[in-house]
C-alpha cells in the first residue's frame, strides 16, 4: 500500500514537470504568433500595394497568370518536433521547378512584376511559418489540457484515496490490537476473581470441619499401619 502511495506521488511529480515544460513552450509559441501576425499584416499590405504598382505599369496580367498555372512552385514538407513527449508538426517550404512566369511582363512592367513576385513570396513564407505555429499552438493546448487534467486527478483523487485507505488500515490494526489487549486484561481479571473465590470457599469449609486436610504422609509421626515399632 505504501508502495502504491509512493508510486502515485512520483507519477504526479513527473506529470507536473511535463505540464510545466509544455506551458513554457506554449507561451513561447504564443509570443511568436503575435509577432508573426503583426509582421504578416505589414507584408500583406506591402504586397497588395506592389500589385497595384505592377498593374499600373504592366496593365492587366491577371488572366495571363491564371491561364499559365500548372504546377505549384512552392511546396511544403511536414516535419515532426518533439516537446516533452508531444509531437508537433512543423511545416517547411521548399521551391521546386523553375519560375514559369519569368518572361511575363517582358514588354512592360517587368521590374514591378519582379518586385511583386518577391513580395508575395515573402508573404507565402510567412504564411507557412504562421501555419506551423498555429497547429503547434492547438496541439499543445490539447496536450496541456490533458496533462493538467491527469495531474489534478492524481492530486485530488488518487492520492487522497490511497492515503485514506492507508489511514483506515492503520486505524483498524490499532483498534484490533487494543481489543486484543483489553480482552487479555479482562480474562486475567476474571481468573483472579475466580481464584480468590475458590480460596475463600475452601477456607470456609475448612473452618466448618467438613473438609479435612488429607493425611499428609510426610508429616505423620506415627504410622498406623506399622505393626512393630
Amino acid at each position: 500500500m505504501k508502495a502504491r502511495l509512493k508510486g502515485a506521488q512520483t507519477g504526479r511529480n513527473l506529470l507536473k514537470k511535463k505540464s510545466d515544460a509544455l506551458t513554457l513552450r506554449f507561451r513561447q509559441i504564443l509570443k511568436k504568433i503575435i509577432e508573426t501576425k503583426m509582421l504578416m499584416g505589414e507584408v500583406m499590405r506591402e504586397a497588395a500595394f506592389s500589385l497595384a504598382e505592377a498593374k499600373f505599369t504592366a496593365g492587366d496580367f491577371s488572366t495571363t497568370v491564371i491561364q499559365n498555372v500548372n504546377k505549384a512552385q512552392v511546396k511544403i514538407r511536414a516535419k515532426k518536433d518533439n516537446v516533452a513527449g508531444v509531437t508537433l508538426p512543423i511545416f517547411e517550404h521548399y521551391h521546386e521547378g523553375t519560375d514559369s512566369y519569368e518572361l511575363t511582363g517582358l514588354a512592360r512592367g517587368g521590374e514591378q512584376l519582379a518586385k511583386l513576385k518577391r513580395n508575395y513570396a515573402k508573404a507565402v513564407e510567412l504564411l507557412v511559418e504562421l501555419a506551423s505555429l498555429q497547429t503547434s499552438f492547438v496541439t499543445l493546448d490539447e496536450a496541456i489540457k490533458i496533462t493538467n487534467r491527469r495531474v489534478n486527478a492524481i492530486e485530488h483523487v488518487i492520492i487522497p484515496r490511497i492515503e485514506r485507505t492507508l489511514a483506515y488500515i492503520i486505524a483498524e490494526l490499532d483498534e484490533r490490537e487494543r481489543e486484543e489487549f483489553y480482552r487479555l486484561k479482562k480474562i486475567q481479571e476474571k481468573k483472579k476473581i475466580l481464584k480468590e473465590k475458590t480460596e475463600r470457599e475452601l477456607e470456609k469449609r475448612k473452618i466448618a470441619g467438613e473438609v479435612t486436610e488429607p493425611a499428609n504422609l510426610l508429616a505423620e509421626e506415627k504410622d498406623e499401619d506399622l505393626l512393630f515399632e
Binding site: A52, Q67, N68, E102, L103, A107
Partner: protein, 351 residues
C-alpha cells in the same frame, strides 16, 4: 504636299476629328487630379468624377464601390467612344482604326491560345478579353485542338494573319513560349503599322512615325532591361526588337549585347533623344523607373500630336491618353482604398 491634306481631309474625316478634339478637351486636368488625390474614400472619388466629363458613369453601381468596378466602367466608356469613331469612319481612317485594334487583338489571341492549350473553357476567357480587340472569329477558337489548327482555321481570316506568318517561319506555334510569341507578334504589328503610316504620307506620317518609332525603341529598351537574368538568350532577345525605330540595326545589335543597365545606358548615349531619358532614371524605389520615364515621354508626344490638324494621329493619341488617364485614376483609387498614400502622386500628369 501639305495642300492636299487641308483640302481633302475634312471631306471624309472632318466630323470625327472635331469630335475627338472635343473629347480630348474632356480629359482630366491637373486641377482634377489634385482634387482626386485629396479624396479620403472611393465615394469621394466618385463624387469628384461626377463633376468631370465622366459624369454619372458610376451612378448605377451598387455598394461597395471597388477599384475594379471603376476600372471596368471607364473601359466601357472608352470602348463606347472608340466604337463610335470606328463605325463612322471611312477609308483610310478605318484601316488606321483596324491597325490600332490589332494591338489588343494580339493580347486576346495569346490569351485564347494559352487557354486552348490548357483545355480551359473558352466561355470565361471570352469574358476576359479586351473589348477593343474583339474580332468575329473569337468564339470559334475552341474548335481548334492545337495552335497550328487554330491558326489555319481561325486566324487566317483576321488582320493578324500576316503577323503570324512572320513568326511561323522558323518554329511551329507549339514550341514557342507564350510571351515570346506575344512579343514577336507585336514586333511585326508595329512594323506593319509604321509602313502603313509612312505610305499614307502627309501629316499623318509626320506625326505618327515619330510616335511609332519611339514605341519601337521603348519596347527594345524594356525587353532588354527585363531580360537580364532570365533564360532569354541574346539572339532570341534580338529577334524581339522592332526594327522600325530610331535605334536602327546598329543600336539594336549593341542593345542585344548589353548585359546590365550601365551598358544599356551607354548605348542610349549615342542617341541624343534617349540620353536624357535614361539619365532621369533614379535608383531603386525613390526615383523614377525607366517605365515611368518612358510613359511621360509617350504622353508628351501624344499631346503634341494635337497641335497639328488634318491627320489620323489624333485618334491614336486620344486613345493612348485616355488609357493613361484610366491607369492614373485606378492608381489613385488603389492608393486611397489601401490607405497607402506615400506614392499617390506618382501618376503621370497629362495636361
Amino acid at each position: 504636299m501639305l495642300g492636299s491634306a487641308e483640302l481633302s481631309f475634312n471631306v471624309d474625316h472632318g466630323y470625327l476629328e472635331g469630335l475627338v478634339r472635343g473629347c480630348k478637351a474632356g480629359l482630366l486636368t491637373q486641377q482634377d487630379y489634385l482634387n482626386l488625390v485629396q479624396c479620403e474614400t472611393l465615394e469621394d472619388l466618385k463624387v469628384h468624377l461626377q463633376t468631370t466629363d465622366y459624369g454619372n458613369f458610376l451612378a448605377d453601381q451598387t455598394n461597395p464601390l471597388t477599384v475594379s468596378k471603376i476600372d471596368m466602367e471607364m473601359r466601357k466608356k472608352l470602348c463606347g467612344e472608340f466604337e463610335y469613331f470606328r463605325n463612322h469612319s471611312l477609308e483610310p481612317l478605318s484601316t488606321f482604326f483596324t491597325y490600332m485594334t490589332c494591338g489588343y487583338m494580339i493580347d486576346n489571341v495569346v490569351l485564347l491560345l494559352s487557354g486552348a492549350l490548357q483545355k480551359k473553357s473558352v466561355r470565361d476567357l471570352l469574358g476576359r478579353c479586351h473589348p477593343l480587340g474583339r474580332f468575329s472569329e473569337m468564339e470559334a477558337v475552341n474548335i481548334a485542338e492545337t495552335p497550328s489548327d487554330l491558326f489555319h482555321a481561325v486566324l487566317v481570316e483576321t488582320p493578324l494573319a500576316p503577323f503570324f506568318q512572320d513568326c511561323m517561319s522558323e518554329n511551329t506555334l507549339d514550341e514557342l513560349n507564350i510571351e515570346v510569341l506575344r512579343n514577336k507578334l507585336y514586333k511585326s504589328y508595329l512594323e506593319a503599322f509604321h509602313n502603313f503610316c509612312k505610305d499614307h504620307g502627309d501629316v499623318t506620317a509626320e506625326v505618327m512615325c515619330p510616335i511609332l518609332e519611339f514605341e519601337a525603341d521603348r519596347r527594345a529598351f524594356i525587353i532588354t532591361l527585363n531580360s537580364f537574368g532570365t533564360e532569354l538568350s541574346r539572339d532570341a532577345r534580338e529577334a524581339l526588337y522592332p526594327t522600325c525605330g530610331r535605334l536602327g540595326p546598329e543600336g539594336l545589335r549593341l542593345l542585344a549585347q548589353a548585359e546590365d543597365f550601365e551598358q544599356m545606358k551607354r548605348v542610349a548615349d549615342h542617341y541624343e533623344v534617349y540620353k536624357p531619358l535614361l539619365e532621369a532614371v533614379g535608383d531603386g524605389s525613390a526615383g523614377k523607373s525607366l517605365e515611368d520615364v518612358f510613359y511621360e515621354q509617350e504622353v508628351k508626344m501624344n499631346v503634341l500630336a494635337f497641335s497639328r490638324q488634318f491627320h489620323c494621329g489624333v485618334f491614336y493619341a486620344y486613345t493612348k491618353l485616355r488609357e493613361q488617364e484610366m491607369r492614373n485614376v485606378v492608381w489613385i483609387a488603389e492608393c486611397i482604398s489601401q490607405r497607402h498614400r506615400t506614392k499617390i502622386n506618382s501618376y503621370i500628369p497629362i495636361l
